[in-house]
Symmetry: C2
Subunit: 609 residues, 2 copies
């Protein structure tokens, strides 16, 4: 029997009261943005969403993404009232509580961390895309704020969702008129938001966000809509229900003062004594075949010239054949990153994200929450576009998320600085918990792609544009945190550490120097994070100095990683890009920035002088 409107109205008041109390208790947080969304949350959790409060997996069930993450207290209140969590929301923001200030997977009901706005809809679109792929009817809901609707990524997600006809996706925008520091751009002009969503291919309806009957009816129409995602633009009031804060500026991120102020506010809301039971509801289970373990075997000849980006594509196709869990997404660069090779063997598992890298990473994260092993690829420099999404993905702790950036460094040549990734290693190393890999030949590229698919969390792989010689046998293994010592003798004067294109320059420098009677050790640091400290310390102890050479900014990359790893126990000379590069041939640029064999030879001699 459906729940009565009156009960949903009263539940909304109960959620309001909880959000007000918990933020006051915490001494920080955003009660008024919870108050504007209270009826939406009540209707979603106690009527619309089909889910089992005892099963946070979301399997065969509707899932909810709180894109406006600062309304976390409302989410905790709703989950608590639905008997989905046991922690009392009054523990909000406490060090010992899973109920954080913004949603994180410390609660199992949170699939993706939010709190940086404009990201939840992208992840939700990824979930919806994957649910279409898997053939389940279970739906995805995302609640956004109106201030949030200024983020361009919202429209990237919107176009993706309509392009792929994700009618299993429903967005609700809580248009409460007020941002953090003032009114939003459009205030209560709901039609502007609706027009935008329609312009991006959605069905869109304006609804009174405090009218539970209207909300229920709108959700019904959303559910019945075919071929298009559906957006509810809900007109609400920030701080709804408490006269001295409702629709007033200056109340963002400001809890009620404990005591009189809170009591007065709660009195205006009135009592809300009810308990609603969420009946477990699920969709018919969809039979999923066992995914299979992602595995491959490289097939190259020593000395063969293959770009690591191309080896990535070859590896990706092999992995896709070995495991149904492997999916790929690309930002209209699939013919350069070679991710089109997956598309060729498993077109249904390839999502074209077009030129919208933020949404690409958000969608990939959403795919990951559905049990996939997503590979997202574009030019390495364009991952800078998605850095906030990568940062938030790390907080989301996905089981798997592999990012593959091609065209790294000055060795791309003529296209010029705008296409050269010079910051990607620094940016990815700084991500807590991320693994950073950098293959130098086709064999290591394929092996590291395989490893990435089997490594938990976020893995970044940097590939190169130029062709490089195969230097490893097909059965060579490349464990995370390892390195390869390719040249070594009992009399090495200096150690040269390279990766990617610079490894080959180091090998050439080795040959040149050997002819002059100078022995150097050459290490392929294919795993930048974690780093093979033991091998580096050994090299530091056994040779006079370590010279690092990287096709990347000198700050935050390979060199500093090595300097930190051997600090106090060896000298590290860092060679990398210090000045803004320009167009030129790869060899001109490698020479100018001191990255080629000749420059390495000269640097080694300087260190020995």
């Amino acid at each position: 029997m459906p729940v009565a409107d009156a009960s949903l109205r009263l539940m909304a008041q109960k959620l309001r009261r909880s959000s007000m109390r918990s933020t006051t208790q915490a001494g920080s947080g955003h009660p008024t943005t919870c108050m504007s969304s209270a009826e939406i949350a009540s209707v979603l959790f106690f009527d619309e969403l089909r889910f089992d409060p005892k099963d946070p997996s979301g399997q065969d069930a509707d899932v909810f993404v709180l894109s406006k993450g600062h309304a976390a207290p409302l989410l905790w209140a709703a989950l608590y009232e639905a008997s989905a969590i046991e922690e009392d929301p009054i523990t909000l923001r406490r060090y010992d509580s899973p109920l954080e200030g913004h949603p994180t997977p410390n609660s199992p009901w949170v699939r993706v961390a939010t709190g940086s706005l404009g990201q939840g809809l992208c992840a939700a679109a990824g979930m919806a895309w994957t649910r279409k792929l898997d053939g389940t009817q279970a739906r995805v809901y995302a609640l956004l704020g109106d201030g949030e609707a200024a983020e361009g990524s919202v429209y990237e997600a919107a176009q993706f969702a309509s392009y792929f006809k994700l009618d299993n996706l429903c967005a609700i925008v809580d248009v409460n008129r007020l941002g953090q520091s003032g009114a939003t751009m459009y205030g209560h002009d709901l039609e502007t938001y609706a027009t935008r969503f329609r312009a991006f291919g959605w069905e869109a309806e304006v609804v009174d966000g405090h009218d539970v009957a209207a909300l229920r009816a709108a959700f019904g129409r959303a559910r019945a809509t075919s071929g298009k995602p559906f957006a509810l633009l809900a007109k609400t009031f920030k701080g709804k229900g408490v006269s001295f804060v409702e629709d007033k500026e200056g109340w963002h991120g400001r809890p009620f003062k404990a005591g009189e102020e809170l009591e007065k506010a709660l009195a205006e809301i009135g009592p809300a004594d009810l308990k609603l039971t969420v009946e477990p509801r699920k969709y018919p289970a969809v039979a999923k075949p066992a995914a299979g373990a992602p595995a491959l075997t490289p097939d190259y000849k020593l000395g063969q010239e293959v770009a690591t980006r191309e080896a990535y594509g070859t590896a990706l196709a092999k992995l896709a054949k070995s495991s149904n869990a492997v999916v790929a997404i690309d930002g209209d660069t699939k013919n350069s990153t070679f991710s089109d090779r997956l598309k060729a063997v498993a077109p249904e598992r390839f999502a074209e994200a077009f030129i919208a890298e933020q949404n690409m990473v958000g969608v990939a994260l959403g795919m990951a929450t559905e049990g996939k092993i997503p590979f997202a690829s574009t030019f390495a420099c364009f991952f800078t576009r998605a850095y906030d999404f990568i940062r938030m993905a790390a907080i989301s702790k996905p089981a798997h998320l592999v990012l593959v950036g091609s065209h790294a460094g000055v060795s791309i040549g003529e296209d010029g600085a705008s296409q050269m990734a010079l910051e990607d290693l620094a940016m990815m190393r700084a991500i807590l918990g991320a693994t950073v890999l950098y293959p130098s030949d086709a064999v290591s590229a394929e092996r590291l792609v395989e490893t990435a698919a089997n490594t938990p969390g976020i893995v970044y792989i940097r590939t190169s544009r130029p062709k490089t010689k195969v230097v490893y046998a097909n059965d060579e293994r490349f464990p995370v945190g390892g390195s390869k010592t390719l040249r070594s003798s009992g009399k090495d004067a200096v150690t040269v550490v390279g990766a990617g294109v610079t490894l080959h320059e180091a090998l050439a420098a080795h040959a040149t120097l050997a002819a002059e009677g100078i022995a150097i050790r050459v290490i392929d640091l294919y795993s930048l994070k974690p780093i093979d400290q033991a091998t580096l310390l050994k090299a530091a102890a056994e040779t006079r100095a370590i010279l690092t050479v990287e096709d990347h900014s000198v700050a935050g990359g390979l060199g500093e990683a090595v300097a930190a790893a051997v600090s106090g126990r060896g000298r590290v000379e860092i060679v990398g890009v210090k000045d803004m590069p320009r167009s030129g041939t790869p060899s001109e640029l490698m020479s100018e920035h001191g990255l080629d064999a000749a420059a390495i030879v000269a640097a080694v001699k300087r260190l020995l002088a």
Copy 2:
């Protein structure tokens, strides 16, 4: 006398021929995307734009931004034909030519580097906003691609432009139907693009992009439109004019083969022998008062507790009073970053960017090209959203661009990881040529804000959320590349290097250790880049080890900067954030991550054990 349509048509063919030849000569590049835009460029440069080919400053003249940067050969061709540049476009992409593969300021006609899509319109919006501020009638034009229109930042710029009624801004979208790796989302459905721009508050018209008469008429209507920016959606064909490439896939980023293929293509275009002279046209000069030098004097008492973010706001207001060139922009966080203090004293010089950080940085860059000293602020973590824009801004080499990120690190406390900047120092240090500053008290904050306004290029300032004690006298100076040794003696056992909140923990640790008879040196490393290597080397030589303590990821930040600076000449122990933080009080989190005084005391003792 206006130029004849026939001449503009022929000039378009000439620009096509030039783009085809130069890319073939370079052996790389994107001729077909130049060919789709040829009539647009011809009409713009030889009819619509009012400028003086001898004056690249853009002063009192219309300016043009090639947002679809891969059409650079067309830009060089147009500038050459207009006698604005002397370099023959045939030198395209050569190491010794200013005519790079994508536009950069190596040509004085390029105000902002492009080549990462979706950025040019943001910068153009910033120019247009500033031109409104300065009262000039000179206009701004931006040419976008249709693939580019998938970037959410385009809609961030669009909403900004309509919100501020930038009717001096005209966007042209070259809808040639084809992206890099396949068809775009919407092909030749021009109305979808027009509907989007209208939904974002623009006047928008669909036009035949190969019909010079239609283009001229549309530009006329754009010029006559008041109160709204204007978008021309130009229907074009990629590779227009050459039968075997026109509207065909597989021709992105692919030049014609030298010899037969190129000759055949050129033959299809036909001869285009004409010379058009651009008559210098300018708008009435607008009298600009001398900007004044940005300067301030801090006014604090030692021991006073002030958050550096608040000192930033105070400083910004002072700078704005001292110099008309100082402008500010913020992403709806002005009451947290305290940039609202500039708004209070100079509201017309404050731009609210709402929650759209990519556009915020792009607009700031555009402001910079108009001679302003822009300060862009938001929470430090949200600058990750704009990393690609910051990267491209560095290539653009602005005279000034100051980014100020507040709420850095775990010391923000209860809001949780999503609001904690833990990667900002790594990301900003990796930017070539950027200056990275990190004040610890109100005096240094104000001084560094003043310094930033007077430092060329991109400057990043990291401010903190908690209040910290004033430790410097108001007349203390903080040069870029310096540091302050706050505690030192002849018998320092260890050096502790901190900045921001950790400096105060280091000072407290100093007191605790001093009471136990252990002397430590304490250095305030307020300038992370450039870094004060001399002082660090001295400390390394005079003490047993350097302990760095930072409220930031251990990778790429203060610690690795120090480790690299003293490599081989001292031991550096890096303390920073290694594991994903969560909600808690600042002191709980500082303790958990080993950043507080007690942890520093323990770490020093470990180093001495």
